[in-house]
């Protein structure tokens, strides 16, 4: 076998190996999605989105309260978690050697690796136990605590990617440091920061453990964050472990809705950031 043929064979073999890796990475994903559609799509109807849960054992009803609850709690968590995370990330990237930055970076990394149920227990201890009742707010707080370190670290990493020359250009025009950071650095990094924030949103939207003993779940429609609140992940958990056949089918459907929700959110934000990047930050 001459060298050229050998090279081509080697190249093709490597390409084959890589393609197999891609397949192995994507296959479980497609499998999950396929299973969800197969088992859940049949239960999707207008009622599923608009009706309240039927009493145990009865057929019909929907998960409207869980959809509303998830949107509200995740929304509130974003309002707290994203600004705090971005702010902390900007600080850590602007003052990388500041002691506060070093400590918060370390804490964020530890928090990122902390099981989310621990955050749930923490929120229970400091909010639920103090208030003496479960609440959507406690759930939001737990989710926000999960989001902050994720958003902080991605913000910091993205800002590091902004070329130093841009910062110098702004400073050389007479921009003060804070203006340079806000108007040039942050704006340039914005699409990346938003993508990072979105990943955090997607991640916490599916969290169940931190909501178990904070938001608790609810059979009723509620928009009051001070009351126990239903959510899609909790619905999946309750229905999947319940005794009724319909509950199982609804658990699949709720899981499908949750994934679709995250999917739509990602798509929307990606389009928005792409638009922003094209218009030049």
């Amino acid at each position: 076998m001459n060298r050229r043929v050998f090279r081509r064979v080697k190249s093709n073999a490597m390409t084959g190996v890589l393609m197999a890796c891609v397949l192995a990475a994507v296959l479980p994903l497609l499998w999950i999605l396929g299973t969800l559609v197969l088992k859940g799509a049949g239960s999707l109807s207008l009622d599923f989105f608009t009706k309240m849960p039927a009493p145990a054992g009865e057929t019909g009803g929907g998960v409207a309260n869980a959809i509303v609850g998830t949107l509200l709690m995740v929304g509130a968590a974003c309002l707290i978690g994203i600004p705090v995370g971005i702010g902390a990330g900007v600080f850590a990237s602007e003052y990388p050697r500041n002691r506060l930055s070093i400590v918060s970076r370390f804490v964020a990394d530890v928090l990122n690796g902390t099981p989310s149920i621990v955050i749930g227990v923490f929120a229970w201890t400091w909010i639920v136990a103090k208030q003496k009742h479960f609440s959507g707010f406690a759930g939001s707080a737990a989710l926000a605590i999960l989001m902050v370190p994720m958003v902080m670290r991605t913000t910091e990493e993205i800002i590091k990617l902004v070329p130093h020359s841009l910062r110098e250009a702004a400073l050389a025009l007479g921009y003060q440091r804070w203006r340079t950071t806000l108007q040039i650095v942050l704006l340039t990094a914005l699409p990346g920061i938003l993508t990072g924030a979105l990943l955090a949103v997607a991640r916490v939207a599916g969290e169940t453990a931190p909501l178990l003993f904070t938001a608790l779940g609810s059979q009723y429609m509620g928009t009051n964050l001070n009351q126990p609140m239903a959510s899609l992940p909790l619905t999946v958990y309750t229905y999947a472990t319940g005794p009724y056949e319909q509950w199982h089918r609804y658990a699949w459907a709720a899981a499908l809705v949750l994934i679709l929700l995250v999917f739509v959110l990602s798509l929307g934000a990606r389009l928005a950031t792409r638009r922003m990047a094209r218009l030049g930050g």
């Binding site: 020359s165 007479g174 003060q176």
Partner: protein, 281 residues
């Protein structure tokens, strides 16, 4: 190799010792000083990179700073608008005066200083914004003109930078979409928008092809009618082509400073001669 002879006067001066000793020396044919450097030392931590500089840069002329890598020429340029302030652990002694005002005085307003002293960098670094915004950013910040006059100012700056005809129909498209040479002229326009007195250019052509380089050099020759230009360059032919005066730096010291023609035809210092004839550097 052509040598710039468009400044009258410096050929006629009788030869005198040009090895710069203190006190400050003015190059032959110089007009009123724009920048006066007095006993200036600069160090990164313990490493002294500029030693006891004393010289005067004349108004409305092009002064080139040449010298081997690491000789401190960029550091000097960045000392004039205090861009080195960004780097922690720098020290300086002595002072630099721009138009009679101290750069290093405690009272000096960096915003004002950097408005008066514009800078063009080695690599074109337009903001990821529209062409219009790139030029308007400085004047907007420094409130140089009422907002309504911005379009005029942007046009004037782009014309001065010889870019107007190429971009007048697409002022709203991103500045980063231009070619390298156009981006660099955009950066020059951005600096000019600030109505500076001095333009510092840090190897402005080193990232450009020969045609783009030629355009920038033509531009420099035009701009010196209105601005004091200090250009750091690695390219000795370029220094010879565009500058009226040339300063040769080596190991942080000003070795020789004279009219460009003198430096390139009859250098008084053997180190200068060795450098310009290519024996080192």
């Amino acid at each position: 190799m052509t040598i710039a002879t468009d400044t009258p006067g410096f050929m006629t001066t009788a030869p005198r010792p040009t090895l710069i000793a203190r006190p400050s020396a003015i190059a032959e044919g110089a007009t009123a000083p724009a920048i006066t450097v007095r006993d200036f030392h600069f160090a990164y931590g313990r490493r002294e990179v500029l030693k006891d500089l004393n010289f005067v840069i004349p108004r409305r002329a092009v002064t080139a700073i040449i010298g081997p890598s690491g000789c401190g020429k960029s550091t000097f340029l960045r000392s004039v608008n205090r861009l080195n302030d960004l780097i922690p652990g720098t020290r300086h002694r002595g002072d630099i005066l721009v138009d009679g005002t101290s750069v290093y005085d405690r009272e000096t307003d960096l915003v004002v200083l950097r408005q008066r002293v514009g800078m063009v960098f080695q690599r074109p670094n337009p903001f990821p914004k529209s062409i219009f915004d790139n030029v308007a950013y400085g004047p907007l910040l420094n409130a140089l003109v009422p907002k309504g006059d911005l379009p005029d100012l942007v046009e004037k700056s782009l014309r001065q930078a010889a870019l107007w005809d190429e971009v007048k129909d697409r002022l709203e498209s991103p500045g980063t979409g231009l070619s390298g040479g156009q981006q660099q002229r955009l950066c020059i326009a951005r600096a000019l928008g600030n109505h500076p007195e001095v333009l510092l250019m840090d190897e402005p052509c080193s990232a450009l092809d020969p045609i783009a380089t030629q355009r920038i050099e033509e531009l420099i020759r035009t701009l010196k009618r209105d601005y004091t230009i200090v250009i750091v360059t690695h390219n000795m032919q370029q220094a010879a082509r565009v500058s009226d005066f040339t300063a040769f730096f080596d190991q942080g010291e000003l070795i020789e400073y004279a009219g460009t023609e003198r430096i390139f035809t009859a250098p008084s210092n053997p180190r200068t001669e060795a450098y310009i004839t290519g024996r080192f550097g």
